[in-house]
Amino acid sequence: MTQALEQTLELEQPARAAPGRPWWVAPTLLVALAVLALLAYAVFAQNRTQVVGGPAPDFTLQTFDGETVSLSELRGRPVVVNFWASWCPTCDEEMALLEATHQRYQGEVVFIGVDHVDTEAKARAYLEQYGITYQNGQDLGGRIADAFGLKGVPETFFIDENGTVIGMHTSVLSQAQLEGWIAMLRNE
């Protein structure tokens, strides 16, 4: 009897919709994941520019003398890459030292100056003022600075004969510091 009533009542109950997630959850999650992926990529790209200990990013520099110098062509010789700018208030403190050290180790260690965010006329005048003779050129589009993960100027990178960045120095170099790096590059 009771069973019959239950059957009757079951017949009368309307069919309920199956419970599930609201329809908008999937697209919202998808958008959130895409944003997270982009953020992760940005962080990864930023960390990727920590070059010390790894291979030096190759670059080609158009020098103020109209020559072209490629880092890859210098493989087999130690290279000192110095980033500077004419507006930099402290860069001039190491210019004379860099030039003197370049003169001293000419043929053994290559010095390259990379002019960062500067105007050509000011940069040329600056090089002339300090009597710089090693190769220098403008970092067009900031590509070399981006590749090396430059934090500011002056900043100097030391690359051994195998093309590995063995170290970097932020701010002005002292003579003792530069000599120390040169000794490491020459395996002394």
């Binding site: 895409a34 507006w87 965010v117 500067d118 589009g141 900031g142």
Partner: protein
């Protein structure tokens, strides 16, 4: 159907409003009187390559003063603001115009906002439609035959209970 059309219209109006906001600076710029550009006109469209958010016309860094000097020289040589802007992009990169490049990975920065806007619009439309589908239907008079059938069935069940 009428109660769905009004919200749909509201969504469309909102989308058009957002689109108008996005395009209004370009439209306003197009309506500016075309005179001889000054150093500050050009410098005002360029951003300092070393600091964030400051335009070259107001930035006090030496590099920005040098940039203003270069702008003056190039304007005097007859170059257009667009040519000068292109020169500085080549010198310092895309950051001087505070706009991502319209190629490569940076293209995503142009595409994503519009894709999200389109997606939000589609979601709003889908939400309105689903709401319309799940809304309770207006009550109507049940057909007499169905009511009779139900009454007869109820009567039968009650009799069975009594037995």
């Amino acid at each position: 159907m009428k109660n769905v059309v009004a919200p749909l219209r509201a969504v469309m109006v909102a989308a058009l409003f957002v689109l108008a906001l996005v395009l209004s600076p370009e439209v306003a710029r197009a309506q500016e009187p075309q005179g001889t550009p000054t150093v500050n006109d050009v410098a005002g469209d360029l951003y300092c390559p070393l600091c964030s958010g400051l335009t070259v016309d107001v930035c006090e860094l030496e590099v920005c003063a040098d940039m203003r000097e270069v702008i003056a020289q190039r304007l005097a040589a007859g170059e257009s603001p667009e040519q000068i802007q292109a020169y500085f992009i080549e010198q310092y990169g895309q950051k001087v115009v505070a706009q991502p490049a319209r190629s490569g990975f940076d293209l995503l920065a142009w595409v994503i906002p519009f894709a999200v806007l389109a997606g939000a619009l589609l979601m709003a439309i889908a939400w309105l439609r689903s709401r319309e589908r799940s809304a309770p239907r207006p009550l109507s008079m049940a057909p007499a035959a169905a009511t009779d059938d139900y009454s007869a069935r109820l009567e039968r069940d009650l009799q069975r209970l009594d037995e």
